[in-house]
Each structure stands twice: as structure tokens, then as C-alpha cells.
């Protein structure tokens, strides 16, 4: 290939040799499924048609699936709001404790570093459901401090149980973000006579926030989806309520599919935008290379 014809190639390639390219995160948007309002209309139509079909096949004296769904929808939405509340609170607790743990993982003192590493790995490798059981059964149902009894309801225990794995994951995110910064930042701060604490708070952590945001949001959406686990241990969130709705309707089996689809739909509507946004932020913050 001559020099001349080379210059016509629009983006000049560095080499013609076959080399493994680095993994591209966003070359093709993995969220190519671009939802428009039209898709919402389509989904609604599908719901209406399937429920009408269900109506046509049920006996006339029972309520149609559509009426039943409409009757219970406010209750289910309320339950879903409770899910979101649980997810936000456990995310807050998990992030606060997890950041501490993550910073302890990069501590200069070996005992602190090693013990926090162990705690992180332990909670990261344990199944969420087991941790939730752990919190549910091993925490007391009330505290008595100085004669004052503070009740400790199930849902607070669920928040604690869910924040344990969040804590461990946040810890890893913080550690990864700090380690991903070029060591020149540390050295530059040191040469400007910053103390270690100042370096961390003023130089390292502000830069980390941007790097931590996409994985943190990803974790949040995983946590939101994990809040339904609380139904197994008896917190009355959306899944428990769906079960109760079913019982209230005499356990009609034709209600199963619409009810569970509705719960799936609620979570999809909540988590899909978060996922899209995460991908957007990832591509925005990505270092152009």
C-alpha cells in the first residue's frame, strides 16, 4: 500500500496487523432497545387484549381480570412505593458504611486493611437472601435502652439485611475507584505538602465520585430488584401484597399471570431508565482513548 492511497483512508489506522482490540463498552449501545411512547401504547394494547381474552374465557359471574386489576392497583402501587422506600434507605445506610469500609481497605495500617478486606469479601460472597434471613432472625424485635423500649419492626430489619451486601459492594466500588486514579495524583499532592487525609478528601475522593457513579447506580438497581426478597421474610411489600390480593380473590389461577406481569412491569418501568442513564453516564465519563 503506497503512501498516497493510505492518505485517502478516512480514519488513518495505526496498524494493519491483526491485534486484539480492547473491550469496547459502548461501541454499540447495548441498550439499542430504544423505547418510545409508541412502545408503551403497544404494551398497553397487549395487556388489554390478553386481559380481554382472559375475560372471555372466565365465567360471567366472576369479575373480569381487568376489573380485579383496577381494583387492586392502588394497593399494589402503594406496596411498590414501600419497595422503593426500602431500597433508598438501605442504599443510604449501605453507602455510608460501605464508603468507610472501602476507605479502610486502603488504610496504611495492615490490621485495618486486612480485616476490612475480609469483611468486604465475606459479605460480597454471601447470597443476599441468606444475609436477609441473617438480619431477620438474629436481630431483636425491640431494643430497651434506659428503660425505653424501641420497637424494631420487620421492615427496618429488612433494610439492615439488604444494606449488608450493599455495604460490601460499595466498599469494593470505592476501593476500585481510588486505585483506578493515576498515582501521579497522590505524588503531586504529596509534593504540595498535603497530609494523607487532605489528599483523600480534597483530591482523590472528588475525582472518584464521577467514576463511582455508574457502578453505584447499577448497584442501586440491583438492590431495588432485591427488595422483593423481603416478601419471603414477611415484609408487606409489593410481592406480599400480590399474594394477598390473590388470596382475597379466592386464589383464581387466571389472575396469576396478570398479577405477576404487573409486578414485573412496575420494576421494569423503574429500573430500565436507571439502566439507560447508567450507560449514558458511563459513555460520558469514559476516557477517550
Amino acid at each position: 500500500m503506497t503512501q498516497r492511497s493510505r492518505s485517502h483512508d478516512a480514519p488513518p489506522k495505526k496498524t494493519d496487523m491483526a491485534v486484539m482490540l480492547p473491550v469496547k463498552r459502548k461501541a454499540h449501545d447495548p441498550f439499542r432497545l430504544k423505547l418510545t411512547p409508541w412502545h408503551g401504547v403497544f404494551l398497553a394494547l397487549v395487556c388489554i387484549f390478553t386481559t380481554s381474552y382472559g375475560y372471555a374465557t372466565t365465567a360471567p359471574e366472576v369479575d373480569s381480570i381487568r376489573t380485579v386489576m383496577l381494583r387492586w392497583m392502588p394497593l399494589l402501587l402503594e406496596g411498590f412505593l414501600f419497595n422503593i422506600l426500602i431500597s433508598i434507605l438501605s442504599m443510604a445506610v449501605g453507602t455510608a458504611v460501605g464508603t468507610m469500609l472501602g476507605l479502610a481497605q486502603i488504610s496504611l495500617m495492615p490490621p485495618i486493611r486486612h480485616s476490612s478486606w475480609f469483611v468486604t469479601q465475606f459479605f460480597r460472597n454471601a447470597p443476599w437472601l441468606v444475609l436477609l434471613f441473617f438480619a431477620m432472625y438474629l436481630l431483636p424485635f425491640e431494643f430497651t435502652i434506659a428503660g425505653v423500649t424501641i420497637p424494631f419492626p420487620d421492615w427496618i430489619k429488612a433494610i439492615i439485611g439488604l444494606s449488608l451486601p450493599v455495604m460490601a459492594n460499595v466498599s469494593e466500588i470505592v476501593r476500585g475507584a481510588v486505585l483506578s486514579l493515576p498515582s501521579g495524583q497522590w505524588e503531586a499532592a504529596e509534593s504540595l505538602a498535603y497530609t494523607r487525609r487532605q489528599t483523600l478528601w480534597l483530591i482523590i475522593l472528588p475525582q472518584c465520585v464521577k467514576r463511582m457513579l455508574p457502578p453505584w447506580m447499577n448497584l442501586y438497581s440491583i438492590l431495588t430488584m432485591a427488595t422483593v426478597l423481603a416478601s419471603i421474610v414477611g415484609v408487606s411489600e409489593v410481592m406480599t401484597l400480590a399474594g394477598r390480593v390473590l388470596a382475597a380473590e379466592d386464589g383464581r389461577t387466571d389472575l396469576l399471570a396478570p398479577l405477576y406481569s404487573f409486578v414485573l412491569f412496575l420494576f421494569f418501568v423503574y429500573c430500565y431508565p436507571i439502566a439507560r442513564w447508567t450507560v449514558y453516564l458511563e459513555s460520558k465519563f469514559a476516557v477517550k482513548g
Binding site: 482490540l21 454499540h28 439499542r32 399471570a257
Partner: protein, 248 residues
């Protein structure tokens, strides 16, 4: 062995630490069954989720718009909804629509049991993530390699099987590793539809013996060990497949 059992019985009497799954033969059998079920469930789901990932990634490279759209829809649907609700949906909603079959004793039974539904649901859940993972690996394979294979007369399937995939697998092993660890942890969800896996059997034991703390700590350690074995194996595999001069 009897001595060990005796020692744990003694431990219970003196300290109150009750570990019936060691000294009681019935509880021991239950827990071993549960452990084996967890391992079996994990292995079957691992296999099917990887198969779904490989096939899905292949379909995503298809030239038909609708094939790609369906695969993308599947991925987004399964990634953004709770696995537990998916499991319920499969087991209760779809399971109740399937015809019932007659058992050998003349009774009626659902066509697929809870174990089968757990396998299906969890495989699809983990598979959705695996498709994305494999796709990112396939994109990392240089175009010129594929072109070279094309010029040698390989068909599209042959290129995928013999050229792209072997290279892609090496790139994606770390993230695949992560997802498979998640899958093993997600198998605990099968508890919700009464698959007799480790968490389920432990719950049975702690409701019989009222020894929740001991069983909890045992469970945490057991899963820690299981995940540890998987990570260790995957890391070894990763090292064995390493391409010289690529990666750190």
C-alpha cells in the same frame, strides 16, 4: 466418626452450640441432600446460562433486525426485573397454564416440578447477562481476523465457532466469572418455590431444632466456600487460556 459425633453432642450439652447436622444422621442426610441440590442446580444453570449467552450473542450479530430486537428485548426484560418475581412468574403463572400429567400412582402432577422451573428461570436470568458479556467479547475480536477467516472460505457459523468465540471467551472470562458467582448466589431464590436446596434444608433444620444462629453461620461459610471453589476454578481456567502478550 462416632467420636466426632459424640464430641459435637458433648459440645451442645456443655456450651449450647447446637450443630445437629453433624451428629444427627437425619439432619445430616437432609443437609447433604440440600448441598448436593444446590451444587446440581448451580451446575445445570451455569451450563444453560452460558449456552444461552453464546447463542444470544450469535443471534445479536444476525443481519435480521427483528432477531436482534427480540434478543435485546429479552435482555432488557430479564435484566431490569427482579429474579424472584421472574421465578414466581414462571413457576406459578406459566406452570399453572401447562397441562398436568398423570403420575405413576394415578394422581395429577404439574408437568414441570419446582426444580425444573428454577433451572429455567435462573438460566434465563443469568443468560441475559451472559449475552451482553459475550457480545462485548466478540466486539473485541479484530475485524481483520474475521475477514481472514472469511477469505479462507469459513461459513458464518464456522467463523463464530472456530475463530471468534475462542478469542472472545478469553476476553470475557473475568466478567463471566463475576456473573457466574452471582448465579450461584441467586440459586438461594429457589427456596421461595420450595426447591430442597441448601437454604431450604437449613430452614427446615432450624425450625426443628431452634438453632438459627448456628445454621446461619454455617450457611454463610458454606456459600463462601462454594463461591470460593468456583472463583478458584475459573481463575485457573483463565490462566490456562491466557494468550501470551495480551492483558497484564
Amino acid at each position: 466418626m462416632e467420636l466426632v459425633y459424640e464430641w459435637f453432642r458433648e459440645l451442645y450439652q456443655t456450651t449450647g452450640i447446637n450443630l445437629p447436622f453433624i451428629y444427627d444422621s437425619y439432619d445430616r442426610g437432609r443437609l447433604i441432600d440440600g448441598f448436593l441440590t444446590t451444587v446440581e442446580l448451580s451446575l445445570i444453570c451455569l451450563f444453560f446460562s452460558v449456552v444461552i449467552g453464546i447463542i444470544g450473542a450469535w443471534l445479536q450479530g444476525s443481519s435480521f433486525t427483528w432477531t436482534r430486537r427480540i434478543v435485546n428485548g429479552y435482555i432488557q426484560l430479564f435484566r431490569n426485573t427482579p429474579p424472584l418475581v421472574q421465578l414466581y412468574f414462571f413457576y406459578f403463572a406459566i406452570g399453572s397454564m401447562l397441562p398436568r400429567v398423570e403420575t405413576e400412582w394415578g394422581g395429577q402432577a404439574p408437568m414441570l416440578g419446582s426444580f425444573a422451573w428454577a433451572v429455567i428461570s435462573l438460566s434465563f436470568f443469568a443468560g441475559a447477562f451472559n449475552v451482553e458479556i459475550f457480545r462485548s467479547g466478540i466486539e473485541a475480536v479484530p475485524k481483520s481476523t474475521v475477514e481472514a477467516a472469511e477469505s479462507l472460505g469459513f461459513s458464518r457459523f464456522q467463523i463464530y465457532r472456530d475463530v471468534t468465540l475462542p478469542l472472545a471467551i478469553r476476553v470475557v472470562l473475568p466478567s463471566l466469572n463475576n456473573n457466574l458467582v452471582n448465579l450461584v448466589k441467586t440459586t438461594t431464590l429457589a427456596y421461595a418455590i420450595a426447591v430442597p436446596e441448601m437454604l431450604y434444608e437449613s430452614a427446615q433444620i432450624w425450625s426443628d431444632n431452634v438453632n438459627v444462629p448456628e445454621m446461619m453461620i454455617f450457611l454463610l461459610i458454606a456459600y463462601f466456600v462454594l463461591v470460593g471453589i468456583l472463583v478458584w476454578g475459573m481463575n485457573r481456567w483463565e490462566r490456562a487460556l491466557k494468550i501470551p502478550g495480551f492483558g497484564s
